[in-house]
């Protein structure tokens, strides 16, 4: 689908928000993603996967400039077109019986924002957010519970330390962030007997389950495809040591 860019603006250090026209052709579950083709063939060749950070009049993604593809994307302006394949993957399942905590790190926070919207507006459930960043200039949300590594905003330290003493078996954690953060959080959740769904990243070529490029090792020593079995997994399915 070739869709028009409505807005592409910087919202924090190296972080941009891209809003594209929503053609109204599909629905999207929180945690699902899209594959975005940045230029015409052949460079960059592969599409780039991004979580959907907002869905309504526009389809929104929030992305961090890390390499060539996202750098080119950051130069696109309103009125230009991008090509997407969506909706892809399996998203979060919402469990209303538990106390809901959204825990995000860095650009991973983007992957939780649409979930937050849906929990709040559709399900009307209470929830808490804990979002961690390195320092003030990286923060692109204004939620109450923010942690920064340097303490320039909110809790000083990483977001896992921030939530460590709040985990117990009545809690459902929805998490997205760097692998190391997720791994630490997973170990804490194991200890606390708390439930957790995580959104994972992996290098993807197709995004629809055919290339087998994106696999991760599961607890039973098999492979699952991040793009089509995930990107959201129950944390107990994953072999964390292998990540």
């Amino acid at each position: 689908m070739r869709l028009k860019i409505v807005e592409n603006k910087q919202i924090a250090k190296d972080v941009f928000k891209l809003r594209i026209d929503n053609p109204g052709l599909f629905e999207i579950d929180p945690g699902q993603f899209l594959m975005l083709k940045i230029n015409d063939y052949p460079f960059p060749l592969l599409r780039r996967p991004f979580s959907i950070a907002g869905f309504g009049d526009t389809i929104d993604i929030i992305y961090k400039v890390v390499g060539e593809g996202t750098r080119i994307l950051s130069k696109k302006s309103k009125g230009e077109f991008v090509d997407i394949v969506a909706p892809l993957g399996r998203g979060f399942s919402i469990n209303s019986a538990k106390k809901i905590m959204l825990v995000g790190g860095g650009i991973g926070v983007a992957g939780l924002l649409y979930l937050k919207d849906v929990i709040e507006k559709q399900y009307k459930l209470p929830y808490e957010t804990y979002f961690g960043f390195n320092f003030k200039e990286e923060v692109f949300v204004n939620d109450v519970n923010i942690a920064t590594m340097d303490g320039s905003v909110g809790f000083k330290g990483n977001v896992v330390d921030f939530v460590a003493d709040k985990l117990n078996k009545d809690v459902m954690v929805y998490a997205c962030g760097p692998t190391l953060m997720l791994r630490r959080l997973a170990f804490l959740c194991f200890d606390a007997g708390c439930s957790m769904q995580v959104s994972l990243e992996s290098r993807m070529a197709c995004g629809i389950g055919v290339c087998l490029g994106c696999v991760i090792l599961t607890a039973d020593n098999r492979f699952k495809k991040v793009c089509s079995d995930g990107p959201v997994f129950d944390y107990e399915e994953i072999q964390w040591q292998a990540l």
């Binding site: 060749l45 592969l46 599409r47 197709c206 629809i208 290339c211 087998l212």
Partner: protein
Amino acid sequence: MAGSINLTVKIGNLIFKNPILTASGTFGYGLEYSKYLNLSKLGGIITKGLSLYEKLGNPPPRIVETPCGMLNAIGLQNIGIDAFIVEKLPKLSRFNTHIIANIYGAEVEDFVRIAEKIENEDRISAIEINVSCPNVSAGGALFGKDPDMVFVLVSSVKKVTKKPIIVKLTPNVSDIAFIAQAAQSAGADAVSLINTITGMVIDTKTKKHLLANKTGGLSGPAIYPVGVRMVYEVYEKVKIPIIGVGGIYNADIALQYIMAGATLVEIGTANFIDPSITMEILKGIEEYMENEGIKNISQLIGIAHSSK
């Protein structure tokens, strides 16, 4: 008027409604893409490489992007021939297109046993023998580099099947035509070329290989000139049909392969980027033929050889 254009091509007695096939490993088991295009419009679907038993493949990371290409080291992860026949084939058969089983084994005996299992499956039109996967330790490209091995392998499979046999060759050899000749003399009905070109990428931050398998197979637009050259060379040396594959992402490149001598083409990596790219390429070939006043695609096959 597309109606007046003849796109049918043949391998042995097998007739294809058009020369567009999907390359093994880039189209799953076919069904995944049925949401994005009408599979019945394809000349044929080539399955992900199938082994005798399920295979888990290599550890991740398995892919890395390179300029205009990608390296993969999937390691032939697949569900195995039996599961394919039970779970996938019945659903695939609903589509009016040829289904070609791409097969792989560690030993000659494995290939033979898979071929035997396929022999009674009418819905499988042909076998593509992969002697060229660079990402597995046993078999794979080791077969494809040795003309004697190719001869033994193809003749052994030939003994247990009446289905057309396509031999998929590796470009990682010094004389690909030599290997193609071995396949032909063993009774192969066609050869397909090329599989991926072995490559490596090092992450300068971690100072380590980016792929867990260290090396991977390069595919995508970056490799098409190599594929076209190899098809051209093989066309001069063998009589059986050639299937061109490697880096095709538009009609122009598909036509280059055909003019170099390919009867059919396989579209690989481009499917990942545009799930319905095969239909655009097909349309582009038709448009080209209309514009050039060419009625039959066979007029284009190998045409580059006659021009001085």
